[in-house]
């Protein structure tokens, strides 16, 4: 019966003009925006297509889905079509579940249509890219360094960043091990460097760097002098043979010129195993995005079990926006807390309590803490950052997102069922 309600909900949505306009707008965006000139980078168009889908089209679809799901139940109650449903042998919680499932199906359908279209366009664009720029249509798995140290002289440390002077005065070294767990896996490896650079020779946006990759077990190494740019990471490719099952790789870096400096941390060099698998990675990103849709659908339907259509739409949008700005809310809460502590200490010393801050403590800090705790964290569903860097979305990320959605949706469903069960229809 839940499925019957869900299919009817989907059918209603599909026959609404709102959805037709939404699909039309989505297609228009996907056709027009790629025509806007991008930077000279060959992969800029591919990146643009990813951004268009995962930000613009997804936002457009979410807006439509919020609008439809937040108004569905209130409209049924207002039109009294709900009488026809509730006079039949169907439990009220199944009606709510059916509504949620119906809009989840709609979301899946929208994501499948636009996602497929976008992927086809990306594949076509990527087929014309030079090989060195095709990393964006690969799926890279990242490895952090197991060890990081500075050999020789450390010039100075500022804000957790160690600065190394050029001309072999100091050498930054990252060590990686256990990179190839499966010997049958023939993925190639690459090291990505995100270093900060400075030079006392005047302004320089590029400095020469000496980079060495050494396999401690096989006594093989590769050295290169590479230009490092301030605004862009650079990559050293190791190939499939460069990394073996028992390889322990030492990556050492120092500026060639004595007047140049590099600022480094343990996280600034990452190893990636590069495999074909863009389609799978893209599918994972779409699945994670679908979970985001699912969450907002559940929240919108939950609101609509009690609120009127306009209030329900507004509240769902507010939750959606706040869910994306959760970090700022947390930061604000923290800010008040810090300020509060500092300001409290002073009046205590002066034996003169600051009444305003005491009120702020109760009126703002606690509610903000609670809000940030209760609101859904939509930022965790951001899969675009992985795709733009060509990084494989770890299955754990998908799993955690799934678990989070299941838990949050379960709680919302429970609350909705209770509210709707107690509701009277006059």
């Amino acid at each position: 019966m839940t499925l019957t309600i869900a299919i009817n909900t989907l059918r209603e949505a599909l026959r609404k003009k709102t959805l037709h306009v939404l699909i039309g707008l989505g297609l228009l965006v996907m056709l027009i925006l790629p025509a806007i000139p991008t930077t000279d980078e060959p992969d800029a168009q591919v990146k643009m297509m990813l951004v268009i889908f995962f930000q613009v089209v997804v936002l457009l679809c979410i807006t439509g889905v919020i609008f439809l799901s937040a108004t569905s139940l209130p409209c049924e109650i207002e039109d009294r079509t709900i009488y026809g449903i509730l006079s039949k042998p169907i439990a009220r919680q199944k009606v709510v579940m059916g509504k949620m499932l119906g809009f989840a199906l709609l979301s899946a359908m929208l994501l499948a249509i636009f996602g497929l279209l976008n992927m086809v366009v990306i594949q076509r664009l990527a087929s014309n890219l030079p090989e060195e720029y095709r990393g964006i249509v690969k799926a890279r798995t990242g490895f952090a360094a197991s060890q990081f140290d500075i050999q020789g002289k450390l010039h100075h440390t500022r804000e957790g960043i160690a600065w190394v002077e050029g001309g072999r005065a100091g050498i930054a070294r990252w060590t990686f091990s256990g990179l190839r767990k499966n010997p049958a896996n023939k993925a190639i490896f690459e090291a990505e460097f995100n270093l900060k650079i400075e030079s006392s020779r005047g302004f320089a946006d590029t400095i020469p760097l000496f980079v060495s990759v050494e396999d401690a077990n096989r006594h093989q190494w590769k050295t290169e002098v590479l230009p490092a740019r301030a605004d862009k990471p650079f990559i050293v490719k190791l190939g499939a043979e460069g990394v073996q099952e028992n390889s322990i790789l030492h990556i050492t870096v120092f500026p060639v010129h004595p007047a140049d400096y590099i600022g480094v941390t343990a996280k600034d060099v990452k190893m990636f195993s590069v495999q074909k698998g863009f389609v799978t990675n893209y599918a994972k990103a779409v699945v994670v995005t679908f979970l985001k849709f699912l969450l907002i659908v559940v929240i919108a339907v939950m609101g609509s079990t009690y609120l009127s259509a306009p209030v329900s739409i507004v509240s769902a949008f507010v939750v959606f926006l706040c869910g994306h700005t959760l970090e700022y809310i947390k930061d604000f809460s923290l800010l008040i807390q810090c300020h509060d502590m500092h300001e409290h200490a002073l009046p205590a010393m002066l034996k003169k309590p600051n009444t305003l801050l005491v009120y702020m403590d109760y009126l703002l800090k606690k509610p903000l803490e609670w809000i940030s705790f209760v609101l859904p964290d939509f930022k965790r569903f951001d899969s675009l950052k992985f795709l733009l860097k060509g990084i494989d979305i770890p299955l754990e990320t998908v799993g955690v997102s799934f678990g989070y959605t299941a838990l949050y949706a379960g709680i919302c469903l429970f609350i909705s069922a209770i509210i709707f069960k107690k509701r009277e229809f006059f």
Partner: protein, 282 residues
């Protein structure tokens, strides 16, 4: 208790405002019994509590106090709804669906198997005379057509108890007559019908028993014939009697101290006249 199709005991509904303060009493201490297989009329002016009673029976509203049973089960029992059909006051239907789709949708809510569903949908569309319009969205239906499809959805599950709220509202006299014939057919099939209406003529035509509500309070309940019969008045209906014979009968009655209240020709109802004319022209 199982002999009753509907039974209420002290059923009371008090509407409250946002602050839970009492705003009005919609129904007060209603004790009602509807026997199985009868056509029962629930009468009363607007705001008398008829629709509130139906909503309480169907679980759309919750009673402030009192209890109710449908077909021997508490009305809150979900399974009893499998045996109930309900036609609301207005045809509250999904206008984006067509006749076939809406009947199929409601049939699915009763878990009716696909094959049987198709058979019932086809049969009901035929019964309510909507075959030519079966694929047309309900948004393009007239009020009368919506009422017919509304009735079809109410009996899609072949219910034992049919609750009809103002069933003839929006129907023309022909449709109204067909609806009344259909209700009588339900009775012949052994179904119980609860009819809410303020059209007294309709109720008088078809109901076995009635209850009259006013301001949420039950005023009277009983058989239509018993409630309407005037025990001290006798009516003869005679055919082919001359004026002289009429005067003779009158004199005979007066000699035995009877009062002749009226002597006239019985008239047909306007509805009968209308139906006869329209059907003759068809």
């Amino acid at each position: 208790m199982n002999n009753y199709a509907v039974r209420t005991e002290g059923l009371t509904k008090v509407y409250r405002d946002f602050w839970r303060r009492k705003s009005s009493s919609a129904l007060t201490n209603l004790n009602l019994t509807v026997e199985r297989g009868e056509i029962f009329g629930l009468l009363g002016p607007n705001g008398s509590g008829k629709t509130t009673t139906v909503k309480l029976l169907l679980g759309l509203l919750f009673p402030t106090s009192g209890k109710s049973w449908l077909l021997g089960n508490p009305s809150s029992d979900l399974t009893v709804k499998r045996k109930i059909g309900f036609l609301p006051e207005e045809s509250y239907l999904y206008k984006f669906l067509n006749a076939e789709e809406i009947l199929d949708f409601y049939a699915k809510l009763f878990d009716i198997p696909k094959k049987e569903r198709k058979r019932r949908v086809d049969s009901l569309i035929k019964d309510v005379g909507l075959i030519p319009y079966r694929k047309r969205p309900l948004s393009q239906y007239s009020k009368g057509m919506l009422r017919r499809i509304g009735l079809a959805q109410a009996i899609i599950n072949d219910p034992e108890l049919v609750i009809l709220d103002e069933p003839t509202s929006g129907l023309d006299p022909i449709g109204s007559r067909e609806m009344k014939d259909l209700i009588l057919e339900f009775k012949r099939q052994g179904k119980t019908v609860v009819l809410c209406s303020h059209l007294l003529a309709d109720v008088q035509d078809i109901c076995d028993r009635i209850a009259i509500l006013n301001k949420g309070v039950l005023q009277v309940m009983g058989g239509v014939k018993e409630l309407l019969s005037q025990r001290d008045v006798i009516e003869f209906m005679v055919k082919n009697l001359s004026e002289i014979d009429i005067q003779a009968v009158k004199s005979f009655i007066e000699e035995r101290n009877g009062d002749v209240v009226s002597i006239n020709h019985p008239s047909s109802t306007l509805e009968e006249l209308f139906v006869n004319i329209i059907q003759h022209h068809r």
